[in-house]
């Protein structure tokens, strides 16, 4: 019907842009890939070298105190982690955990300041909201392609893709939390002569803390899902057995690896949630 309009070469434009970025910024990407990649494998292998029993005990004790001395989460953590260990997936677990941790921390470091900016500037909010929508709705796999172009394969592109996919909730919730600070409290802080920075650190961030933590919880969950997907581009961890089980149509091993991810997800989710409640 609209045949008179030639097909717009959107795909080749994007290709061109990605190529351009890759070649132009390789002086940034390459050191990141090398240094950061080394750092991540080093931390993951350090963590993996700790005897599992010690990690299980630490997690259980932390869970006990974080949940106000209740045994529920502690018991679940012990049983869950033992199951993963028993299935021979401990090392994969440590890699996944390291990746999620690093990706989440980076997301928070990037996301909270952007969220603050959004809450302070109507313009920034207008520009960033559709960008965040885009970042979240674009199928997660798509991020892996430029990630590989920029950082080759392995952990680093995994973390990069996760950063893009998992940061939006932290940004959104930070923005929301600050905007939800009651007007009278903002007036009170202004009326007593606070500077902008004082208002932010003495009122807005403490008030928004609960909401921001809810965003961080989401970010951690999204990081986990992304890190699993990132096994497609060679990131180590629990995603790999899932992927190989998929390729060989082995339901059993796929389920075992899947349940391990679920266990990790539940533990991390409850941890971040309780971190929020306990204060």
């Amino acid at each position: 019907m609209f045949d008179f309009i030639p097909e717009i070469p959107l795909a080749s434009w994007v290709d061109w842009i990605v190529d351009w970025i890759t070649s132009t910024f390789s002086f940034i990407f390459n050191p990141i890939r090398n240094q950061f990649g080394d750092f991540m494998s080093w931390s993951a292998s350090q963590l993996a070298s700790v005897p599992p029993i010690i990690i299980i005990i630490i997690v259980a004790v932390a869970a006990f105190f974080l949940t106000n001395r209740k045994f529920g989460l502690a018991t679940f953590s012990i049983v869950g982690l033992l199951v993963i260990y028993n299935q021979g997936l401990w090392e994969e677990l440590m890699f996944t955990f390291t990746l999620v941790l690093i990706a989440s921390v980076l997301s928070v470091i990037v996301g909270v300041p952007i969220g603050i900016l959004m809450s302070k500037s109507k313009l920034a909010e207008t520009i960033l909201l559709p960008v965040l929508d885009f970042m979240q709705t674009m199928p997660a796999f798509v991020y892996l392609i430029p990630a590989v172009a920029f950082f080759s394969i392995g952990m680093v592109p995994g973390v990069f893709a996760s950063l893009i996919f998992a940061t939006p909730p932290t940004v959104r919730f930070t923005n929301l939390g600050i905007r939800q600070v009651p007007k009278e409290l903002v007036e009170a802080s202004e009326a007593f002569g606070s500077t902008g920075t004082q208002r932010l650190f003495k009122l807005e961030l403490p008030m928004a803390k609960g909401t921001i933590m809810a965003g961080i919880n989401q970010t951690v969950m999204l990081s986990l899902s992304m890190v699993v997907i990132a096994s497609m581009i060679g990131a180590p961890g629990l995603g790999r057995p899932v992927l190989s089980a998929l390729q060989r149509a082995q339901a059993g091993p796929g389920f075992v690896a899947g349940i391990s991810i679920v266990i990790l997800a539940i533990i991390m989710d409850r941890f971040t949630q309780n971190l929020n409640k306990s204060k």
């Binding site: 009170a188 007593f192 002569g193 003495k202 008030m207």
Partner: protein
């Protein structure tokens, strides 16, 4: 010299500010301007001065612009026009740094819903104003504690706001405002969120504190009784404009226009008015010059059943009744001293009207208002009823 001087202060919310201001000049009303330009007039050329140690109440119904006005004073809302002068400096024109200094040192605000930070303890809340000034921790804790002691919360410093009742929370708000020892306290509907009994306690407490501290207070309220109770002077606002400024009595007895008159219609005047406001000029006889015959004659002329007796210096001596005077005339008694009654009910000029009701009910004769033994007026049932009904001029026959 006034502490704060507000001149032609205006706020127009909207996009056609210039045009709206022009319309205001032409004397157009708030709703006409809204229709023509889409702008909302918050405050229309408010001007007043507040003296050191004065409690200046700005009172009006919701939408009258009183909350906007108080926020224009410390520039939580940017004024469209006009000036706010404090210590010779115009707040409306100063830069952000100077403004912050003024807010830190000279102006403190108390909020309707207390405005306390829920994650801070009572002490930390009270310290806030000092903290943002960068005052050292031990010093600010000391000052904040003093302020909390002043409002009677010295024992609660480590609690959190949610653990306190509304009245206590507002005391914290007050302590926070007092901690940096400001010249002017801005109180925005400070007691409106409290229940009536607590509100009355807080008003009393504020007046007590004011006795000690002699701060300059600008107090916003929608409650006329509250305004009359605590205000040295009251500014009444309507549709963004100040309609009348005056003392409680001015507003009650000499309302500037119909609006004020209707506004004060339902006020419990007995709480505001004093003996002086409602007394009338007494008919008297002179104890040294007059006898029962003159007394009786005067009572007949004025339709009285009793008359007060004074001496040449108007010192109150007592009263005589018509019956006694008439008997005395029959018995040919010449001297009033023989029939005078001295059980006169007397009150001072500033006796609240509220306390007169019972006296006047029990007394067979009008109440005498005296000032240093001298009779200055009398209060009769009719004048009390007239004053309660809101007559500004009292015309009564006894």
């Amino acid at each position: 010299m006034p502490v704060i001087e507000v001149k032609g202060l205006s706020k127009v919310f909207g996009k056609n500010v210039k045009q709206s201001l022009k319309l205001l000049d032409d004397g157009k009303k708030k709703d006409e301007i809204l229709k023509q330009t889409g702008d909302t007039v918050g405050v229309n050329r408010a001007s007043f001065e507040v003296e050191q140690g004065e409690v200046f109440v700005i009172m009006g119904l919701s939408g009258s612009g009183k909350s906007t006005l108080i926020r224009l004073i410390n520039r939580l809302i940017e004024p469209t026009e006009g000036s706010v002068t404090i210590d010779g400096e115009d707040l409306a024109k100063m830069n952000q740094d100077d403004l912050r200094e003024v807010r830190r040192k000279k102006l403190s605000m108390v909020f309707q819903n207390f405005g306390l930070f829920p994650f801070r303890t009572i002490l930390q809340n009270a310290e806030y104003g000092l903290e943002v000034q960068g005052i050292e921790k031990s010093e600010r804790a000391e000052k904040a504690k003093e302020a909390l002691d002043l409002v009677g919360l010295g024992d609660y410093i480590n609690q959190y706001p949610s653990q306190l009742s509304g009245g206590m929370q507002q005391r914290v708000g007050l302590a926070r405002a007092l901690a940096n020892d400001p010249e002017v306290l801005l109180m925005d509907e400070a007691f409106s969120a409290l229940d009536p009994l607590i509100r009355k306690d807080m008003q009393d407490e504020l007046l007590d504190l004011q006795q000690k501290m002699k701060k300059t207070i600008i107090f916003i309220t929608h409650d006329l009784d509250e305004a009359l109770r605590i205000g040295d002077r009251i500014a009444l606002m309507k549709d963004g404009s100040i309609v009348q400024i005056g003392t409680a009595e001015d507003i009650l007895m000499k309302p500037a226009n119909d609006y004020v008159e209707r506004f004060v219609e339902d006020v419990d005047r007995s709480k505001v008015l004093t003996a002086e406001n409602i007394m009338v000029r007494p008919e008297t006889v002179n104890i040294d010059k007059h006898g029962p015959r003159v007394a009786l004659e005067r009572m007949r002329e004025e339709g009285l059943s009793s008359i007060y007796v004074v001496d040449a210096d108007r010192n109150l001596k007592g009263y005589i009744t018509a019956d006694d005077a008439s008997d005395a005339r029959k018995k040919e008694i010449r001297d009033l001293k023989e029939i005078i009654k001295t059980d006169v009910p007397t009150v001072g000029r500033d006796k609240p009207m509220q306390e007169l009701f019972e006296m006047i009910h029990d007394s067979p004769v009008p109440i005498a208002v005296v000032d240093n033994e001298k009779l200055v007026g009398i209060i009769i049932r009719g004048t009390v009823l007239a004053a309660l009904a809101g007559e500004s001029e009292v015309h009564v026959n006894v």
